[in-house]
């Protein structure tokens, strides 16, 4: 029997992994599975609802109308010189992508306990595929936004797309990372403390009000503005808006803070997730 130290093992199973041994190579090897999950979720969604993708349009449209009435007409919040409908819609499109990424990845372990209990694949495949699937609905909503934007533009309203429009893919990627990071932090903790999952929907809702979705960030001054700067979504929403609608550009170091926060949250999430994924089946 070979017992020498020079043996080459394909894999070694040990009780505790280190904090940082995330196997990116393995996730890459399972990229076909990510594709299949995305395809599955997409097809399943289409086949189950009659209105199908229309739901993606109804939700932001109605929210925009409500926001325009409540915050625009009644509360008379300024929109930084941008037509209110476009102002709110742009914020909602961006925010709803982020929000659905967080809420849907947050119950990764609990929702997939059935599959996870029977077969091994890198657990990270699940949240990654969710984040990618959500890009599809984001695309549909973005399309709605662009349609309305063009209508306004043709009618000669004051919208001035800027060069920042080119940064949209980067912003989207950043949002995906951020949503993934926050989602997996929560999902890692929910394996042990279920009540956290109840907090997610609520927390995300509150988070929206700490993000310039219904008001421009320029309105916030004083010590509260620090909260806004520390919120990584602030820069994303503002830059997205600036790219399509023009207006006032935020100081760019805001974005730097936002990128830093994103990296920090994603990193924390990956480390926690990695720690939990091995033994979560025993506690779920």
């Amino acid at each position: 029997m070979l017992r020498s130290g020079k043996e080459q093992w394909t894999s070694v199973i040990e009780p505790n992994s280190g904090w940082f041994d995330v196997n990116l190579q393995e996730i890459w090897r399972y990229r076909d599975l990510i594709k299949m999950f995305v395809k599955r979720d997409f097809i399943a969604f289409y086949k189950q609802t009659i209105l199908g993708p229309l739901w993606f349009l109804i939700q932001p449209l109605f929210t925009t109308i409500v926001f325009t009435i409540v915050f625009g007409q009644i509360a008379k919040l300024p929109t930084g010189g941008v037509p209110p409908i476009l102002f709110y819609l742009s914020g909602i499109v961006v925010w709803s992508y982020f929000a659905s990424c967080v809420t849907k990845t947050a119950d990764t372990f609990v929702a997939n306990a059935g599959i996870f209990g029977k077969v091994y694949f890198p657990r990270m495949v699940m949240p990654i595929s969710i984040v990618i699937t959500n890009i599809l609905s984001f695309g549909i909503q973005l399309f709605l936004f662009l349609t309305i934007l063009i209508i306004f533009w043709v009618r000669g309203l004051d919208v001035n797309p800027t060069i920042w429009i080119l940064a949209i893919p980067i912003l989207l990627l950043q949002m995906a990372c951020l949503g993934l990071g926050c989602g997996i932090i929560v999902s890692s903790l929910t394996t042990k403390y279920r009540d956290l999952s109840l907090l997610v929907g609520f927390g995300v809702q509150l988070w929206m009000y700490a993000t310039p979705v219904v008001y421009p960030s320029s309105m916030v001054t004083g010590p509260l503005s620090w909260l806004l700067i520390m919120n990584p979504m602030t820069a994303i929403v503002e830059l997205f808006r600036y790219g399509f609608l023009g207006g006032q550009l935020i100081p760019l170091w805001y974005w730097g803070v936002s990128l830093g926060m994103t990296f920090f949250l994603l990193f924390t999430g990956v480390v926690l997730f990695n720690k939990v994924e091995k033994n979560f089946m025993d506690t779920v």
């Binding site: 894999s11 199973i13 040990e14 009780p15 594709k35 299949m36 599959i115 077969v119 042990k192 506690t283």
Partner: protein, 423 residues
């Protein structure tokens, strides 16, 4: 061929008993607070004692204890043991579904584990899409599935329905497709839990055939089953687990024999056998072989009549009802020899008040000498009220020739026969 494929070193797995959820956050904080004040942790941590007692209650449980073994490449190993002996836990650790509490496992080669067929099948997707989905979940790459797709469809015998959503499949088709995908995995190490108990007999045979084909191709296979026949037919090596510890490794025949003697050393009864029952309106109380004087007996001559007495308690709602009683006899390896059912027509058994006593008469039990197991069930128009699996055992002895050895390859039946030669 002598290279080690799997090396397991002192693997243990501990589970926390009781409810996990309410109270744990509190207890975590309590432990943390105790440690913070440098006091003894009131909730003993993993790995300190066999069963930590907390408030007189068992809180921790070792599903596996210091299990070590090596499996060489190309070996087909059957893992056997009672329910709760740790077989499934071992497979789960080997397939990385859960981690060990301590110990180390080294694996050489790609592992595919099959703890369930059809994991991740989505009802809305077509057969084709599910083949790809299930295949990738099991660790195949897309091009590998492309390559084997036709073979999979052919094996499942559902070519004409491949583009239909699986929610419209019959359960048989569903299972066939699911197994077909699994059967075409091409790993170096295959870990299989009791998944062969699916499909009809013909398909099961096909699966077993495929499995032995796989194993002949030099693959390492780990197989967990309660079907001793299947284990003996497929495996070369056996491993016996007894309450979390590995008690025997060796030739499969020896291990199965040891398992059988170990599992049936206690006298079987309705109380200590595995029970499945739905409503439980009628409960089996006792199943025994008796002689003419109603004394319990264990030994029966193969050519003599025998009577099996079945006693049951009848619930109030089940009085004066027509029921069916089923009796099955298995070999000690778990192969069903025969099943008989009481009549369902006007001659059906009627329940009376309180206790029910039924006797089942056999003209003879023509089996070769050895130990056999009886299962009994009470059925109410297709609905199983109570079933006791292996609730009674009996020993067949042969009158006269005690010298004729019992060759296991000669089968289980002892049919009287006579030879004449005309020449």
């Amino acid at each position: 061929m002598s290279e080690v494929a799997i090396q397991v070193e002192n693997v243990s797995k501990q589970y926390q008993l009781g409810t996990i959820g309410s109270g744990t956050l509190y207890r975590d904080l309590q432990s943390w607070w105790a440690r913070f004040r440098a006091q003894e942790d009131p909730n003993t941590k993993v790995g300190q004692s066999d069963v930590a007692k907390l408030g007189g209650e068992k809180q921790q449980f070792w599903a596996l204890r210091d299990v070590s073994f090596d499996i060489k490449q190309g070996e087909i190993v059957g893992i056997i043991g009672r329910n709760g002996a740790g077989k499934s836990t071992l497979l789960k650790i080997l397939s990385k579904i859960t981690g060990p509490t301590s110990g180390k496992i080294k694996i050489q080669g790609r592992v595919a584990s099959l703890l369930e067929v059809g994991t991740g099948f989505h009802p809305e997707l077509t057969g084709r899409e599910n083949v790809y989905l299930n295949g990738t979940i099991l660790g195949m790459r897309k091009y590998e599935i492309d390559h084997k797709f036709d073979e999979i469809v052919e094996f499942a015998e559902i070519a004409q329905f491949i583009d239909t959503p699986v929610k419209r499949y019959s359960s048989g088709m569903y299972v066939r497709l699911a197994f077909a995908v699994a059967a075409h995995l091409d790993p170096e190490i295959l870990v299989i839990d009791e998944v062969l108990a699916v499909g009809d007999a013909q398909f099961q045979k096909k699966c077993l055939g495929k499995l032995s084909e796989v194993s002949k191709g030099g693959k390492t296979v780990l197989f967990v089953s309660h079907n001793m026949q299947a284990v003996q037919n497929l495996c070369t090596k056996g491993m016996l687990l007894e309450s979390g510890r590995l008690s025997m490794v060796g030739n499969v025949r020896d291990v199965v024999t040891r398992y059988n003697s170990y599992i049936y050393q206690d006298e079987l009864s309705v109380e200590n056998c595995s029970r499945t029952g739905g409503s439980g309106g009628i409960k089996l109380r006792n199943v025994v072989f008796v002689d003419q004087l109603s004394n319990k007996i264990n030994e029966i001559f193969s050519d003599s009549p025998a009577r099996l007495r079945i006693e049951a308690d009848v619930g109030e709602n089940y009085r004066n009802k027509m029921i069916t009683i089923g009796v099955g006899v298995d070999t000690i390896e778990g192969t069903r020899l025969f099943t008989c059912l009481s009549p369902t027509n006007e001659l059906a058994i009627r329940t009376c008040d309180g206790a029910l006593q039924v006797t089942c008469y056999f003209n003879n039990l023509p089996f070769v000498p050895g130990k056999y197991l009886v299962s009994a069930a009470i059925i109410d128009s297709g609905d199983t009220l109570d079933m006791a699996e292996h609730c009674c055992s009996f020993q067949i002895i042969r009158q006269g020739d005690f010298y004729q050895p019992n060759d296991p390859t000669h089968g289980s039946l002892d049919i009287p026969c006579r030879f004449t030669a005309d020449c």
